[in-house]
Each structure stands twice: as C-alpha cells, then as structure tokens.
Amino acid sequence: MASVTQNFMKLFRGSSGSPESAENQAAQKLTRRSSGLGELSRLWDSETPLCVLDLGSTSPANIRFFTERTHRIYSEDLLVASTDPALVTKDEEGQVILDSRKFLADNLVYPAAHFDVVLCWNLPDYLEESLVRPVMGRLWSVLKPGGMLLAFFHTKDAGPDSPCYRFHIIGKDTLEMQRIILKREARRGPTGAVHTAITDGFRLQRVFNNRHIETLFRDFASIKFFLARDNVREVLVVR
C-alpha cells in the first residue's frame, strides 16, 4: 500500500501522460485520508443496524466493512447505469440529454426515508448534467431525516482528464482509491443494454464552486465542507 504522503499529489489530477497501461493504472490503489468519512465513522458503532447506500462501483471492501459491523449495505453503480444507451433522448431545444425520468424509474428505487447514510463519492462531478439534480432530489427523499450524505467535489484546479476513482473504505477515516478504467469491449449493462459509448473511463463533467454545491443541496438541513490538501472538497450534508 502506498503511503498517504506519497500519494497526495497524485490524486484528483489530470492524467500525467505516462505510458502506463490501463491495466496498471486500474490496479494501482492510492490511499487517502477522508475527514468526511471520519466524521461519519461515529455512526458505525451504532448497535442499531444502519442502512447504507454506496453509489460507487461495487466494492468488496465496502461490503465487508459494513456487513462486519452488522449494517445493511446497498450497492448501486449509478455511473455505469447512466451509460445505458436507452436513456439518450433530446430536450425541447433538440439537445442530446439523458432521460432522467427513465433513469429514476430504473435506478434508486427505494422507499422514502430508507437510508441512514448515502456514500455519493465523486458521482456529481462525473454524472451527466441532466441527471444531477433529479438524482440529488431522489437521494434527499430516500434519506431518513437526520441521515447523512458524503460527496467529493473537485476544485477548479482539476482538468477535464481528472481520473474517476472508485473508493474502498479501509479504515475509519481512510480510503483506498482505484482508478476506473472501463474495458474497451462492449459490455452488457445492468439493464441488459450493450454499452459501447464509453471506452476509456468517465470524464469530469464540470467543476462545482461552493455556491453551486450549496444550491445542489439546498433542500438539506445542513452542509459541512472539508477542504483536503489534494484540492478536493469533501461535503457532508444532513437531511
């Protein structure tokens, strides 16, 4: 495992242009301290089983982390789900967008006020624009009042090639990050549709400033920012 110090400057930066193979990049795991996760960790000792929703790539480490503590974990990879070609449609102005109604009919289908914690990771930065607000609205409704959501946002220093990571919880405030490299061959997604649009990982869609983030979570009761040394803002919101 690489040390936190060694990894600091590698994180959330654009691709370095090094000739590393995609397999090597995907295999590398970088460690990172997370203040937001540390804040959430007070909940993990709860004797009442928590309902946790992990919106990142399926992570055996996260499933193990929560099930060992007798909590219930739900795993749903929304980024992969958003690559379903059946979602593509046009808005009133003829612009190509993703159909958020269809997306929410197939994904995030849970009872209201079901989850204690939602791990959003870097989803808002990589999710297609037309899905961001509807998804956040749905997340608000499936969180219990008082429930918490953790999300990461790049700062303006991030370039469009900033790699998308999957996050594995390896300690109460420590994450292991693994670059997402999608396979080049066509692959059937969860709905059965063949995904061919994405060949080389997910691209950063936008950079939110603090005001944008506050607007995104305006329906939530409170919001707390943690600025990390690697130019990532961690945001912990409470419904």
Binding site: T58, P60, I63, F66, T67, T70, R72, I73, Y74, S75, E76, D77, V80, A81, R188, P190
Partner: protein, 119 residues
Amino acid sequence: MSAPLSADLAQIGKSVVIKGELSGSEDLYIDGQVEGSIALKNHSLTVGPNGQVKASVESKAIVVQGRLEGNLLASDRVELRKSAVVTGDITTQRIAIEEGAYLKGKVDIQGKAEKAAGK
C-alpha cells in the same frame, strides 16, 4: 470454463432455456437460461459464465459467474466471481465478492441466531 464434474451435480447447458420452478436435492450448475424460481434447500447453485438467470434463488450456497437477476437467499454462503453481474438483494451468512463483480442490490448478513429467530 467447464462445470466441475460430480456425481451429484445436475447441469443445465449453454443452449438450454427453462421457464418455471426448479427444485432439487442435488447441486445444480446452470450455464444456460433459467427464468422463474430455484429452490435447492441444502445444496449449492452455480451460475456459470454463460448462465443467465432471472429467478429468486434459495439454496445453501450460491456461486455466480454469469448474470443473475433476482433475490438470493443462501443459508450458508454467496460467492460473486469477477465476471458476475447480479441485480437483486442478497441474504446470507457469509459472502465473498471478487474484484470486478457487479452488484445492484442489498447485502444483508444474517447470523445463525438471527436466522433461527426468523428475522
């Protein structure tokens, strides 16, 4: 990958399509398509790499290498291999998930005491 050979292992091959209720008292290996429900109380189910199952499954052990859509209830263990694509809730005593497996659903680990209490 071929199925492990065993005297007590029933196999559903790649070209076989079954719709309905499947139950049995021997281990089952599915590399074809099954739609409905599967109940193998004290035995194991393996969904091979070509397997496509749309069914609720109740079994002692469930190993998935292919695609499975439906809720999984295992009295002992569930294993999702790296090629597994699973959509459904998993209730089991033990679970092992390989890097690369895809899961959309809940994981609920039930201890023996919980299971006995029927929770």
